[in-house]
């Protein structure tokens, strides 16, 4: 009898150790697992100043639905909220990874999609929303800007949504909901001139209508606390005690003029050879969505409301106040410094 409690204790210690290791490993993964040498501290002030002034004039236009009543005040409203905070020097112990973060817990589910199906409630498959608590089919930048958020930091009023995960037909919401804003994916000199994401920008990443896990699939499934399982475009079998997780990187090159496009994708592009292509010349932070679900085991029990695992996609409606976004891009992204939710190292 005496050996039972001790083996349980050992197992608990083992599980706790695995958990700590898993979180550490996944944080490393989120940071792209590479150390970027410090950037030249030059340019950060000037590039962010340029960014702040360039976005209001850049915004307010939306291509194909040219007559779409995009509120013209979209970008100017947030710009007047607060002047940028003065820049602090880089602390000696700063981690030299270009990153800031928002933790945005689940808020609600609705069969709505204000980007793809604006004002058509009930027209979509079920979506799980994070961050802004008000998002529905009728949301626009004005309504979102007046609402509240579950994000840490609270100032991030952005809305994030994904198809709902169903396990045995029942919705399961992620308990880990981290939205990283990263400077990786482009050369360091490009990172140094990354501009803030314009206020009101809408981005859709992933392929909701994928019919197979092919090279159009940008999302990845893996297991938290079980790195040996490896990443896959479709659901993976995560061992008991671990969590299935979804990684999705959003495109980080903007065409510099449109907050949205007819297909909700063509105003954005992924980088090519470490730089933004001439068609989409403005580098912006790369949004990396990491969702961890309290589910594991046989993936035959899993389905997304949009279909199989490879149909994972994410929608992002940027409602960061401009000054908050600009300060983080200046201090964390351009300087290649890892910041937390408060936007400080």
């Amino acid at each position: 009898m005496a050996h039972v409690p001790s083996s349980r204790l050992r197992r608990r210690v083992w599980i706790a150790a695995l958990a700590v290791a898993g979180v550490a490993a996944s944080a490393v993964t989120a940071n792209a697992m590479f150390f970027t040498p410090p950037a030249q501290p030059k340019a950060s002030q000037t590039s962010s100043a340029a960014a702040v002034t360039s976005s209001p004039q850049a915004a307010g236009t939306t291509t194909p639905p040219a007559d779409t009543p995009v509120p013209t005040a979209e970008t100017t409203k947030a710009a007047v909220v607060a002047p940028p905070k003065p820049q602090e020097p880089i602390p000696p112990n700063a981690v030299r990874v270009a990153e800031f973060v928002a933790e945005c817990p689940f808020t609600h589910k609705l069969p709505d999609d204000p980007i793809v199906l604006p004002n058509l409630p009930g027209a979509s498959h079920m979506h799980s929303f994070f961050g802004n608590t008000s998002t529905n089919a009728h949301s626009d930048v004005t309504s979102l800007g007046k609402a509240t958020s579950t994000c840490s930091p609270k100032v991030d009023l952005s809305s994030y949504w994904v198809p709902t995960l169903l396990v045995d037909g029942q919705p399961v919401e992620p308990t880990g909901t981290t939205f990283y804003y990263l400077g990786e994916g482009v050369r360091d000199d490009v990172t140094a001139r990354i501009q803030p994401l314009p206020y009101g920008l809408r981005i859709v990443a992933g392929n909701a209508k994928a019919t197979a896990p092919d090279n159009t699939t940008t999302s990845r499934w893996s297991c938290l606390h079980a790195g040996h399982v490896g990443a896959s475009k479709d659901f993976v079998t995560c061992p008991a005690g671990t969590m299935i997780e979804s990684y999705l990187d959003f495109p980080q090159c903007w065409n510099g003029k449109d907050l949205d496009s007819a297909d909700h994708k063509s105003h954005m592009s992924y980088p090519v050879n470490g730089d933004c292509p001439a068609t989409h010349p403005v580098p912006v932070p790369k949004l990396r969505q990491v969702l961890r679900y309290p589910a594991n085991g046989d993936p035959a029990r899993f389905k997304l409301s949009s279909g199989p695992g490879f149909t994972m996609h994410g929608d992002f409606f940027n409602v960061w106040p401009e000054a908050e976004m600009a300060q983080r891009v200046r201090d964390c992204i351009n300087r290649i410094v890892k910041c937390g939710p408060d936007g400080r190292p």
């Binding site: 194909p64 009543p69 297909d263 909700h264």
Partner: protein, 177 residues
């Protein structure tokens, strides 16, 4: 109806006079807002996927759903022609963003594959269930268009979708099998 639609679109797009030049590619007529376009983008795959399911009735000559299927096919094809004409008039490419999408109101490839194997009563029951949810979802989306859309021809289409799906639902419930 179609002549009226064309006339409305022509007038709205300013193309009614011989000297009027067609709108430049990629710039929609001023009367189609994002909601109208989203409604049209959704209607196309909804109708197309339903037509694909209805085509399977040809392999089931004894199906009690033939009369309903023919009526629905006629209506859905007419709507497809109408929205494609509308998109062409405003110089907008037909969006395929929902093609193959697993969305409410669309009959998925997996559902089609299952239906293709069904025969007799099983076929009718399955097709009836698929059509019922399709019609109901089409009404939901049409009503949303009616409350938030702005384009007159699209609003008229939405009203027709709402009323015809109600008629089809009644027809469907009347089918004894």
């Amino acid at each position: 109806m179609r002549a009226l639609l064309v006339a409305v679109v022509l007038a709205a797009a300013g193309c009614g006079t011989p000297t009027g030049s067609p709108p430049p590619a990629g710039s929609p007529a001023p009367d189609l807002a994002a909601t109208d376009l989203a409604f049209v983008d959704l209607l196309i795959p909804q109708n197309e996927s339903t037509l694909a399911a209805l085509a399977l009735t040809s392999a089931n000559p004894g199906s009690a759903l033939h009369p309903v299927a023919r009526q629905v096919e006629t209506r859905y094809r007419a709507e497809l022609a109408q929205v494609r004409e509308l998109l062409a008039r405003i110089g907008r490419q037909e969006s395929d963003q929902h093609d193959g999408h697993d969305m409410p109101g669309m009959i998925t490839a997996a559902e089609l594959a299952t239906l293709a194997h069904d025969r007799g009563t099983a076929f009718d029951q399955q097709l009836k269930a698929l059509l019922r949810s399709q019609f109901e979802e089409a009404r939901t989306v049409a009503r949303a268009e009616l409350s938030s859309g702005t384009s007159q021809p699209v609003l008229e289409l939405g009203a027709r979708v709402d009323s015809t799906r109600a008629e089809f639902l009644a027809l469907l419930e009347g089918v004894q099998r």
